[in-house]
């Protein structure tokens, strides 16, 4: 089992001057007019009986998933772009209800710090509480705290059977309450969609029980804004939207300005940024999160 060499990547990031990083640019990509680096590409290993895999952060998610599929496994990251990009942005896909947040995927990361050093966060095993959870901080930090070079991720088995269903529904929670751990439940104000996985007989029993009919797939998601609201607010949404029931992520046709966070939390974020990147050289101007 090889170890991905990060020395060249660290050298490219360097220790002075503004620098940005790009993956496949599916999530906005790099900062304009700033020197741009890219993370190592390639899968180092896949361990099906550990349910872990190690790859360069520049590896496309699709490539990792193709390698895992040979073992009946997958990684719970949104399928576009690179592994590093998906982790840096930290936005989950519509399977979040079943898969959990993106942050739960990352077990270990080696990143290049603002000082140009290779730093390891987390550890290689599926369970680990050795030290502070720096991995959580890296996920969703949009490359503002360090540039991830390689990662060890948690994988999951691909379910034996997977099917989308739908039904008319004015109250999304009625259907939601009848399902046992659905992978996704979406609602647009009049129709509810559910993704059910597992044993085929369980899936069809569940669907019948909740009054759902098989359908081709989820609806297309409006792209005006991706709002994050308390899950309790989903039932009272208005406009053109598709909401993730039980999660509170809303794909809306209209634009949206996120509420201002707790000012004390924003101070903590600034303090972290000062600690990790005192001169603000990593992805300058990019807001985290």
């Amino acid at each position: 089992m090889g170890v991905i060499e990060l020395a060249a990547f660290a050298e490219a990031v360097g220790s002075a001057g503004p620098v940005t990083i790009a993956g496949l640019r599916t999530r906005g990509g790099s900062v304009a007019d700033v020197r741009c680096v890219s993370a190592p590409v390639g899968i180092d290993w896949v361990q099906p009986d550990e349910m872990t895999a190690c790859c360069g952060a520049g590896t496309p998610v699709a490539e990792l998933n193709a390698a895992l599929a040979e073992h009946g496994q997958r990684v719970a990251l949104p399928s576009s772009g690179t592994v590093g990009g998906a982790l840096a942005v930290g936005h989950s896909g519509v399977r979040r209800l079943g898969d959990g947040p993106v942050r739960d995927v990352l077990l270990q990361a080696r990143y290049v710090s603002a000082a140009g050093e290779v730093v390891k966060a987390g550890g290689p095993t599926v369970k680990n509480v050795s030290g502070f959870d720096l991995c959580r901080l890296l996920v969703g930090s949009c490359g503002t705290l360090g540039f991830v070079g390689d990662v060890i991720v948690r994988t999951r088995p691909i379910a034996a059977h997977s099917q989308w269903f739908s039904a008319e529904a004015t109250d999304p929670h009625e259907c939601f309450a009848r399902l046992y751990r659905p992978v996704s439940v979406l609602w647009d104000g009049s129709t509810v969609w559910a993704l059910l996985e597992g044993h085929a007989a369980d899936v069809s029993e569940q669907a019948t029980n909740a009054g759902l009919r098989a359908c081709d797939g989820p609806p297309s998601l409006p792209t005006g804004s991706r709002r994050v609201v308390p899950p309790a607010d989903v039932a009272s949404l208005t406009g053109t939207f598709v909401a993730e029931v039980g999660v509170g992520i809303v794909h809306h046709a209209d634009t949206w300005t996120p509420p201002i966070g707790d000012p004390r939390a924003m101070e903590l974020e600034s303090a972290l940024k000062r600690e990790f990147d005192p001169t603000g050289r990593l992805n300058p101007g990019v807001p985290f999160g």
Binding site: S130, G140, E205
Partner: protein, 473 residues
């Protein structure tokens, strides 16, 4: 300094709830680990505002403070050093609200783990992390230690079940980290706080995710002629694409001790026993049970006992959970270790554990979360035997080193605290440790929240920072 602080605390939260008597100082001078410290004062706030008042007073006086839940931690996390102020959160034990539709709840940190599960049981829900100490440990302690339990194999450890936190920072200010929203804007501060072992601040409210109870559950016990066969069965089950709800292993000495204690009809002749629980919807569960039995038999499993009813299931679990009671019949004292290794390394590392303990003439029982490679060698001893504590500590250190050398980590669920602080360099280099120290500084620039835990002091500042050792008792 402490006297002035105590006066201020008494004015802030009433005199009865600030204690400096020798009984209280003794009682709160350590946690459930073998490490003792020294408390300067103990206070029992009942609200967020009172926690803020206590922390702000400690901050004004430059006195370190230690948040404490139930004190069941096993790594010395809640052990106060240098006469720190102990802030006990057990009086903040209300479930504040439950949203049964979206399956989440806001609770105070002193709520006991099992009490929360009982509180929501009538809704068909539970709090998934289930440490063996769940009858007595607090949600605040679970958050701070990112605790796990047998059923965290499929459902994830505490971190996967925390949505939001209200935290008192070391200057007494209050901050909200996340809430019911899935993905709050900005850095994942709540994620960073989970597992921070009381060193980032005091959690005063916690928003937890609740998990649906499984409609169908099957529990089985399988015995093996060798630890290797049991361990290989574990790897084969996972590689076959199944993640059981729980996958626990007990070795022979442990099974024998437990059987002598609870008489559950456990296979005392087996070298190793696996307790496997599969949970979910009925068809999937039955299919998985059949495949798991097939895999186990292909790996030489002898008997397979499937619990026929809830009573038998409870009995099998009682076997797993009685290890601590059972060992008292062997020796009066125990030292419980906690490391993780890749599953495929379980046979090798277990062999090393037996070899190391034999060399130090110690008895060891293994009862552990095999499904995620989380070893729990339980060394039993009688501390009145001269020199035994040194042997226990030396054997423990070798076990930790062997686990890390096998590609594992220092701790799977108990945390680092004082116990493993000086082992951190086995896993992390200076730059890695500096990054963790930077996280701490951002949350606690004053360095007053539970200092001297988790991070070994960098050699460079040895002259300005003394590191109390904490006495092994």
């Amino acid at each position: 300094m402490i006297a002035a602080l105590v006066d201020e605390l008494r004015a802030a939260i009433t005199p009865e709830r600030v204690r400096i008597g020798s009984t209280e100082l003794g009682l709160y001078g350590r946690d459930a680990s073998n490490i003792g410290g020294s408390a300067g004062a103990v206070c029992f706030p009942t609200s967020t505002a009172e926690v803020q008042a206590c922390v702000a007073a400690a901050h004004r006086h430059g006195v370190p403070f230690v948040a404490r839940g139930s004190g069941t931690g096993l790594a010395g996390g809640a052990t106060p050093l240098d006469h720190a102020l102990v802030i006990v959160l057990t009086k903040m034990n209300r479930v504040l609200s439950v949203d049964p539709i979206n399956r989440l709840a806001w609770v105070e940190p002193g709520v006991l783990n099992l009490d929360l599960t009982r509180h929501v049981a009538h809704l068909g829900l539970h709090f998934a992390p289930d440490p063996s100490s769940q009858q007595s440990c607090s949600i605040g302690g679970n958050v701070a230690n990112n605790s796990g339990g047998p059923h965290c194999l499929s459902d994830g450890v505490t971190a996967a079940h925390i949505l939001g936190l209200e935290v008192v920072l070391s200057d007494g200010s209050l901050v909200q980290l996340g809430a019911t929203e899935a993905e709050p804007v900005g850095l994942d501060l709540r994620g960073a706080f989970v597992g921070s072992e009381g060193m980032f601040g005091v959690a005063t409210k916690v928003c937890v995710r609740l998990t649906q109870n499984a409609p169908s559950v099957r529990t089985m016990l399988m015995d093996f002629n060798s630890v290797e066969d049991g361990a290989q069965t574990v790897s084969a089950i996972i590689a076959a694409g199944m993640v059981p709800a729980a996958l626990e292993m007990m070795d022979q000495l442990c099974v024998q001790a437990v059987e002598a204690y609870i008489h559950a009809g456990l296979p005392v002749d087996a070298a190793a026993v696996l307790l496997v629980e599969v949970a979910g919807l009925a068809h999937g569960v039955e299919a998985d049970v059949a495949r798991i039995i097939e895999i186990a038999q292909a790996h030489g499993a002898g008997g397979v006992r499937i619990a026929q009813d809830e009573a038998e299931r409870a009995l099998l679990w009682k076997g797993r959970k009685s290890a601590f009671g059972a060992i008292a019949r062997i020796k009066p004292n125990y030292y419980l270790h906690d490391t993780v290794v890749p599953r495929r390394m379980l046979p090798q590392v277990l062999r090393q554990v037996y070899e190391i303990t034999a060399r130090y003439q110690l008895q060891v029982l293994n009862v552990f979360h095999a499904g995620d490679g989380n070893l729990h060698p339980l060394l039993v001893f009688d501390k009145r035997e001269p020199g035994v504590m040194e042997r226990v500590l030396a054997a423990g250190e070798e076990i930790v080193r062997a686990s890390v050398a096998a590609g594992g980590v220092l701790s799977g669920e108990h945390g680092i605290g004082l116990e493993k602080r000086d082992f951190m360099p086995l896993m992390f280099g200076p730059a890695d440790l500096a990054a963790q120290a930077a996280m701490r500084r951002a949350f606690d620039p004053a360095g007053l929240a539970n200092p001297f835990k988790v991070l070994p002091s960098p050699a460079a500042c040895g002259d300005v920072q003394h590191v109390p050792e904490g006495a092994w008792v």
